[in-house]
Symmetry: C2
Subunit: 192 residues, 2 copies
């Protein structure tokens, strides 16, 4: 199949839809982030890319802590809203009617309505041009009780979103499970 | 809704399924990675977390270049396989029948069958315990011609995968679009 060159671009699939929280000037604020990924396993780490001028980044630098909250599809309106307005102008917690709580770190604001919440402590900040890459240690994980099955997080109940940029900028839910991981690939071992 | 504490864990949704490539001792090799995210926009950057003892990491350090390939659902078997065997023991390119090509960087191996391929140059390597976080500049993007609509990458044709860890380790495709991004959130502006 022939290939078309697109130039340097941020094109991976899927990208998550996450609400990153921090206290800015002592008040909780949240922004929507799609540019994030797990960064390590032992200890558990996460990376979040944030444009340098963003208000939430100021709070992350002030407190050196932040949260990552996974909104369910039911919160798509709130998740979108937190990406289009700035906390420097509006109290997003009030507008979105987020119930904010705090955990182990004490100052990483967490959203009760989001089924999964991570409390993170900044380990590194890389200056990558127009963005800063925040690399944080994940210090605690909170999961809504109603989103567990046999004590484990259940993605069917969590109902996470993905953000698609092309052919249009949209939010999408998950579809069918098509294969077991660490399993279906074994069929190819016969070819070794 | 009450919350259950899970301890520090790598729990975000969705996680991608990506094939990261590098030449190791001058031969192309690929490994499956779920711990990756976009790390910056201007210039375009990506992060990939790789366990220190992985064979592919050796090649990334040797050449300081790597590729990120997005497999479609049709390649789920190959994507799983590349995560369960090591290139130190098996020639994964042969087993998976990958057609390898090279682009602008010359030594970042790309998989023709994958609809999206990024060529990357290492900018930073962070030592994060058992994992290294490779932060790379995205230098070129290749998209299969058949996966474009009106010249833009089309998610419905690319058919990316997500990896779910709980309640079981599985691969899942994407379902319905539920909202327009940078749009549905505007409804909440009335509450400001």
């Amino acid at each position: 199949m022939s290939k078309v060159l697109m130039g340097p671009s941020t094109l991976i699939y899927p990208m998550p839809v996450l609400l990153v929280g921090a206290k800015v000037n002592d008040k909780p604020n949240f922004m929507t982030v799609a540019w994030s990924g797990i960064a390590g396993g032992n200890p558990p780490m996460i990376s979040v890319a944030i444009r340098n001028q963003r208000y939430t980044l100021r709070g992350i630098r002030q407190t050196m802590t932040f949260s990552v909250n996974v909104p369910s599809a039911d919160l798509v309106k709130e998740a979108d809203y937190c990406g289009i307005v700035s906390g420097s102008k509006v109290n997003k917690v009030d507008v979105c009617e987020f119930k904010v709580f705090y955990g182990k770190l004490g100052n990483a604001p967490l959203i009760e309505q989001c089924p999964v919440n991570l409390e993170c402590k900044v380990a590194h900040i890389l200056n990558l041009g127009s963005y800063s890459l925040i690399v944080g240690g994940i210090k605690e994980t909170h999961v809504s009780e109603g989103c567990l099955t046999d004590g484990k997080p259940d993605f069917n109940k969590i109902k996470p979103l993905t953000w698609i940029t092309d052919p249009a900028s949209q939010y999408c839910v998950f579809g069918d499970v098509i294969a077991k991981a660490f399993s279906i690939g074994k069929e190819l071992k016969a070819r070794q």
